[in-house]
Every structure is written in structure tokens, then in C-alpha cells.
């Protein structure tokens, strides 16, 4: 079966190239970097809560600086299968409804404290909460004038912009995956978020749980991610295309897959948030802004990968064929391109990039079972903003979304930043329906 061999070897080459270059990029960026420093938690996210509960169990508390109630301080409550952030109101109170009695942890997110206020005991900001006999438990977090440096607005914005670019770049890796799959097959893949989670979780498993070095852990993660792309096309979507299953139906199948995979991950990982141990916790100063070394490495890796994807799409034969299939699959097929093979390559490529995006997102925030699903919408928004099916558009859209979500937190409440990104998406569609870089469809 020479065809199958050629097919497989192309795949191997593509995957190999991706992994090799990721590692190379990582080395380069590391070489500029510094020695690993002591462990420190990465900046904590404010993920969108999820779940389906009707309960009256709550965990809450009151956060004050002296006698002044602090507003907008976030506390994260986690438990088995549960993860939610509560924010204090004007009276300094926060409340998180939880699904059931049981053991939870509550973690104060010190980033959200006002300038000049810090936890009295910065090393001890996580409390174990046991909700056993009552319906409500109060948790205390004493605060005081801390060591937090007053920062000026310019530096804050610059820091946010840099984090925004970092977030945007890692979103782009996932968004380009969605865009390539959409471009070649016209399928909206709702299971894409789980591909992000998969990358993060596998990387967590190898780097932090098993504890093998960073570089082989990344390599293993990318290989396994690539395999999920292969599997999704070979075992699910190609048979569906064969059967002539419509696009809407195929999309709903991906929704089912997304639910299934998400809960399988929850089943094995548990509901707790996990912190990746990359050893890259040093802070780096860029002008007045301060970011973590991990973010810097992450940006470097993303940029190198995105450039490579760009070169792949524009310079290589397979890349050009991919664009031809995206333009017009029938025409491409008629001109001798093996469309199924291109689609297979696209799935593998997309899954690998998305797995990488998961690793970086896990480093940027933390790892939990729900992380990919939480950013799925941002990925879709990025792809739609850029124009459905345009890989370059996905990059532009991702950067817009990344920067908007991070920078907006300077002015609007943290818990509304994703909402703002989605509002922008809708506004853009009103003005420019085909997206920033998209083309109009042919009618009639």
C-alpha cells in the first residue's frame, strides 16, 4: 500500500516538523532566559463558572481592610468538579453557591486586592472549607497594608497589553486550528475546547505529576494531541462525510463529543485546579512592565509556531493544496488534489497546534477540566472576527480578543471582560458581517 505509506509519512513529517520546531523555539527562548527560580503560583484566572446546580449551599465571607469593606476582591472556591470565583460587593461580602455539602478550598486571589492592600499572610491564602452540617460557611481572609507596590496606570496598561498579546497568541494557535478545519470541511468543531484541555492536562501529567523534563513532556503532549486529531478525522468525521451526514448534524456530533470528553477528563483529573510546574517563575521587566518568564517563553514559542504555520500554508505544496481546498473543495478535487488527505493533515496539524495552545494556556493560567470549554467561545469569536475560514484572520481576531480581554480589566470589572470580547464580536458583525478579513459569499 504505497499510498498509505506516503500518507503516513507525510503526516509524520508534518507532526515531526511541528514538534521539532516547537522544541527548537523553546530552546532559543530559554537560551535568552534565566535560571529557574523558586516556585510561585502563576497569576490566577477568573474562569467562568459552570455547572447545573440548584442549591442553597454557600461559602462566603467578608473582606475588609481595617474597617473598610473591599469591593471587587475575588475568592476562588474549588471542590470536586466545581470551580467558581466569588467577588466581593460594596459591602465587602462574597458568596459562592456550591452544589452540595463536601470539602472545598477557598483561595483569595491577591491580584484583585486594591493597590496598597495585601493579604496579612501572603503565603497562606488558601483555606480548606468543610461544608458538613450547615448550609453556609464563612471564611476569613485578614488583610492589611501590604508590600504591594503602587503601580502607575501606564505600567499597568503596558503589562496588560503584554499579557493580552500573550493570551492572543496562544488563542491564535487554537483559533487557526478551528479556522483550518472550518476552511477545509465547513465544520464548526465544538470539541475544540477539549483539545485545548487535553494538551494542558497531558502536559500537566507528564511535566508535573510524573515530573519528566519540560522538553520531552512537550514532545509527548504534542504527539498525543496530533493523534487525537488523526483519530477524530479517521474514526469520526471521515466516516460521517462518507455517510453524507449534514454539516449541522456533524456539528452537533462535535457537541456530544465535547460533553463526553470534558466529563471523562473531569472523571480522571478531578475538579481541582492544578498548577503547572515549569520552573519558569522568574519575573522579567520590560520597560516599566513586569511579566513572568513563562509568559515571555510562551510568546516566543507562539510567534515562532505561527510564522511556521504561515510559511507552511504559503510555501509548501501541502499548504497550498490546503488553501486550494479551503477556496473550493470541488475544484481542488477536480484538479487532482486528494481532498481527504488534505483534510486529514489539517486535522492533525490543527490538533497539534491546539494541544500546544493548551500547554501555553495552562502555563498562562492554570489547568482544570473545564479550561478549554471556557475559552471555546473566545476561539470562535476570534475566528469569526477575522472572517470564518481565514487562517490569517484567525490570528488577527485572536490578538484583538486577547488584548481586549486583558486590557479592559483596567477599566471594567474582571468578571465582565469575556462579555466585552463577545460584545465586540457582535458589533463587528453588525458593521462588517464577513469579519475583518473575510470575503463575501457568492449568491445564486
Amino acid at each position: 500500500m504505497p499510498l498509505a505509506i506516503r500518507h503516513a509519512s507525510t503526516l509524520l513529517r508534518v507532526v515531526g516538523a511541528i514538534i521539532g520546531t516547537t522544541l527548537a523555539a523553546l530552546m532559543i527562548v530559554l537560551a535568552m532566559g534565566l535560571a529557574p527560580a523558586s516556585a510561585q503560583t502563576t497569576p490566577s484566572p477568573s474562569p467562568s463558572p459552570s455547572g447545573d446546580f440548584t442549591s442553597t449551599f454557600t461559602i462566603g465571607g467578608l473582606i475588609r481592610d481595617g474597617d473598610t469593606p473591599l469591593e471587587g476582591v475575588e475568592v476562588r472556591v474549588e471542590g470536586d468538579g466545581f470551580d467558581e470565583v466569588g467577588t466581593t460587593g460594596a459591602d465587602g461580602r462574597w458568596v459562592v453557591p456550591v452544589p452540595a455539602q463536601g470539602k472545598y478550598t477557598a483561595t483569595l486571589l491577591p491580584d484583585t486586592l486594591p493597590a496598597g492592600v495585601a493579604p496579612r499572610d501572603p503565603e497562606n491564602i488558601t483555606r480548606d472549607v468543610n461544608l458538613a452540617t450547615t448550609n453556609t460557611v464563612n471564611v476569613l481572609f485578614p488583610t492589611g497594608a501590604g508590600t504591594v507596590v503602587e503601580s502607575n496606570i501606564g505600567a499597568t496598561i503596558l503589562t496588560r497589553v503584554i499579557y493580552g498579546i500573550n493570551f492572543g497568541l496562544l488563542l491564535a494557535l487554537g483559533a487557526i486550528g478551528i479556522s483550518l478545519i472550518y476552511g477545509t470541511t465547513k465544520l464548526n468543531n465544538f470539541a475544540h475546547g477539549e483539545m485545548v484541555t487535553f494538551g494542558a492536562v497531558i502536559f500537566f501529567l507528564f511535566s508535573t505529576v510524573i515530573g519528566i523534563p519540560l522538553v520531552p513532556a512537550i514532545a509527548i503532549t504534542l504527539v498525543l494531541s496530533a493523534f487525537t486529531g488523526y483519530a477524530q478525522d479517521a474514526w469520526l468525521h471521515k466516516p460521517l462525510r462518507r455517510r453524507g451526514v449534514g454539516l449541522v448534524q456533524a456539528m452537533i456530533v462535535t457537541i456530544g463529543l465535547s460533553i463526553l470528553v470534558r466529563y471523562v477528563i473531569l472523571f480522571f483529573l478531578g475538579g481541582n485546579v492544578q498548577t503547572l510546574n515549569t520552573g519558569l517563575t522568574e519575573n522579567v521587566n520590560i520597560g516599566p512592565a513586569t511579566i513572568t518568564l513563562a509568559s515571555l517563553v510562551s510568546m516566543g514559542v507562539s510567534v515562532v509556531m505561527l510564522i511556521l504555520v504561515g510559511l507552511f500554508l504559503t510555501r509548501t505544496r501541502i499548504g497550498k493544496a490546503t488553501r486550494a481546498v479551503s477556496d473550493n473543495a470541488q475544484l481542488a478535487a477536480a484538479s487532482g488534489i486528494n481532498v481527504d488527505r488534505i483534510i486529514r493533515i489539517v486535522w492533525v496539524l490543527a490538533a497539534t497546534l491546539t494541544g500546544l495552545s493548551g500547554i501555553l494556556y495552562g502555563i498562562f493560567r492554570q489547568v482544570n477540566w473545564n479550561m478549554g470549554f471556557q475559552i471555546l467561545l473566545l476561539l470562535f469569536a476570534a475566528v469569526t472576527l477575522g472572517g470564518l475560514g481565514s487562517a490569517f484572520g484567525a490570528l488577527v481576531g485572536s490578538l484583538i480578543i486577547g488584548i481586549v480581554t486583558e486590557v479592559s480589566t483596567v477599566w471594567i470589572p474582571n468578571d465582565l471582560r469575556y462579555a466585552l470580547a463577545l460584545v465586540i464580536l457582535i458589533l463587528v458583525l453588525l458593521v462588517r458581517p464577513q469579519g475583518v478579513l473575510g470575503r463575501k459569499e457568492r449568491v445564486g
Binding site: 467562568s48 447545573d52 469591593e71 458568596v95 460521517l240 451526514v245 470528553v261 470589572p413 464580536l425
Partner: protein, 326 residues
């Protein structure tokens, strides 16, 4: 372990207000997707809008029941316009993305701390049920038989919820056999063709979006009547579950959404009860009871996939109707 108890509670789910709410929401996306071909992935948003627009005026302005219901309906009409104006002229997938995004925006907004005074923030709202129970026509006591024994208040909320479901079904039936239904179904097949025949496609799509959205908002009301409003309930997962119910029953059918919701609710309770039962009887030892709660979601995901692949027409759908790939 008490098997009787497990089956009893599963059977009780059959008529529960949550099932009625699911059914009504599923009828709503049945109008959207099954008949008009609109991909609404924001039904949870319509439900949230319905619930909050019902509860907030009740709590803040002492709205009577009828006025609160009207407020709920108006809010969902407004929401449908907001969604429809930018997207109904665009390709179908844009509506999918915008509806799912809008539903999330709604959830983020009702949860934000700045609005806690109005929406209750992350802890939601409660204590609004008195206007509803005050109108309870049933005398105190217990009603029903077998697994379906209710107090007067429980009966009242069920009668109210299921009456809305029946009314909505009749409305959908009347509309879909009419020329209006013909135009809407034509739009599902090919909107340009319908446009070329002189029909204002945009207006019809908007009407369908509003109709299904109003059903969604009333479903949101039924959902919260016997309890409190919890913003976490209105996540995208809820929308996906309602889609599963709709497809289970059959998208372009009258009874499909109702039966789909019932099967879904019963299966969910039953599988959960069974797994927990087996764990407590030490028959299953390798999973914890928390994990048991997760297994049923895996089942939902798998059922959704298998259903769409192997029985896309659902239980009531016409196989022939879906065998064409249009």
C-alpha cells in the same frame, strides 16, 4: 439501597416542573431549528432573560404575576431582536456563534458584582415565589398516586408549567400546518428560493426567533418558580442539554420535544440513582460517588453523538424526511 426509591424518583421526574421547563425550551428551539432552520445555541440565555425579567420586577416593584410574566415575554422579544438584527441576514453559522455568545454575555452580566443589588450577583435571587403561590387554586392537602404525590403548591406549579407546554404545542401545531409554517419551513430549506418568491424572509426568521425565544423565556420562568434563580444554571451546557432533548424526540415534530425532555429527565435521574445505588451496594467499587455524577454527563454526550449519527430524525421524526441531504 432502595431500588423502589430510585424508580420512584425517576418516575416523579417525568412530571416535574424542571421537565416541563426543559420541554418548553425544547419546543422553542424546535421552532428555531426544526422548522425555521435557525441555529439558536443561546436558549439558556432566553431562559435566563425570562427568569430574571420575571423575578426582578416581582422583587423590586412588587409586580403581580401576570405583569411579571408579561415582562418576561417582552424581555425575550427584545433579546430576540437584539440577536436577530445583526445575524439574521448572515449565514446560519453566524447566528449559532452570536446566540451562544449572547447567552454567555447575559450570564456574565447577571453575575457581575456591580449589579448585585439588582441581580443578586453570583448567589442569584430568591423569595419571589409568593405571587405565584398566592394564586394557587388547589386547597391544601396531598394529591395524586404512586410516585406522583404532590402537595397543593407542587401540584399548582406542575399544572401551570405543563399547561404552558400544552398551549405552546397547540400553537406550534396550528402555525406549522398553516401557510406561515410553509414559508418558515421553506426558509429552512433554502432562503434564497423563498425570497425569490416574494416572501420577506428576514421578517419570518425574526418571527420564528421571537416565538421560540418567548417559549424559552417562559421555560425560564417555570424553571425558577419552585426554587431560586441561580446564574450558574444558565451555562452553555444547559443549551446543549436542551438540544439533546430536542434531537432525542425529533426536531420538526410536535410531540418530540416533550417526549425528548421526559426521556432525558428520567434517564438522567435513573442513571444517577442506579450508579449511586450500585456504589452504595458495593457492586461498583472503582468510582466515587462524585464521579458517579460525572458518568451521567458522559452518557449524555455519548447519547447525543450516537443519536445524531444513527437516528438523526429522533423518536418521532420521519426517517424519509431526513434521509435527503439538503
Amino acid at each position: 439501597m432502595d431500588w423502589g426509591q430510585i424508580f420512584n424518583s425517576a418516575a416523579g421526574e417525568l412530571l416535574s416542573p424542571v421537565t416541563a421547563a426543559y420541554a418548553l425550551a425544547a419546543i422553542g428551539i424546535g421552532v428555531h431549528f426544526g422548522y425555521a432552520g435557525l441555529l439558536n445555541f443561546g436558549q439558556a440565555g432566553f431562559m435566563a432573560i425570562g427568569a430574571y425579567a420575571f423575578v426582578i420586577p416581582t422583587l423590586l416593584f412588587d409586580f403581580p404575576l401576570w405583569a411579571a410574566l408579561l415582562s418576561s415575554v417582552f424581555a425575550s422579544i427584545l433579546f430576540a431582536f437584539l440577536l436577530g438584527i445583526p445575524t439574521l441576514r448572515l449565514r446560519a453559522d453566524y447566528l449559532a456563534i452570536v446566540t451562544i455568545a449572547s447567552a454567555e454575555i447575559v450570564r456574565y452580566v447577571v453575575m457581575t458584582t456591580g449589579l448585585t443589588a439588582i441581580t443578586g450577583g453570583a448567589s442569584g435571587l430568591s423569595g419571589f415565589n409568593s405571587t405565584f403561590t398566592a394564586l394557587n387554586p388547589f386547597a391544601d392537602g396531598s394529591y395524586g398516586f404512586g410516585p406522583w404525590v404532590f402537595t397543593a403548591n407542587q401540584l399548582w406549579v406542575r399544572v401551570f408549567g405543563w399547561s404552558l407546554v400544552v398551549l405552546a404545542s397547540i400553537l406550534v401545531f396550528l402555525l406549522m400546518r398553516s401557510p406561515w409554517g410553509r414559508v418558515v419551513k421553506g426558509i429552512r430549506e433554502d432562503e434564497d428560493a423563498v425570497r425569490s418568491l416574494g416572501k420577506n424572509v428576514y421578517a419570518y426568521k425574526m418571527q420564528a426567533l421571537i416565538l421560540g425565544g418567548v417559549f424559552g423565556s417562559l421555560a425560564g420562568v417555570i424553571y425558577v418558580l419552585p426554587r431560586s434563580v441561580q446564574p450558574t444554571n444558565y451555562a452553555t451546557t444547559l443549551t446543549f442539554f436542551i438540544w439533546t432533548m430536542l434531537l432525542l424526540g425529533g426536531a420538526a415534530t410536535i410531540l418530540g420535544p416533550i417526549v425528548g425532555a421526559m426521556i432525558f429527565a428520567v434517564l438522567l435521574t435513573l442513571s444517577d440513582g442506579l450508579i449511586r445505588g450500585l456504589i452504595s451496594a458495593n457492586i461498583i467499587t472503582f468510582i466515587s460517588s462524585t464521579q458517579a455524577g460525572q458518568v451521567r454527563f458522559m452518557i449524555i454526550g455519548a447519547v447525543l453523538m450516537l443519536l445524531v449519527i444513527f437516528r438523526p430524525q429522533g423518536i418521532f421524526g420521519n426517517k424519509k424526511e431526513l434521509s435527503f441531504n439538503v
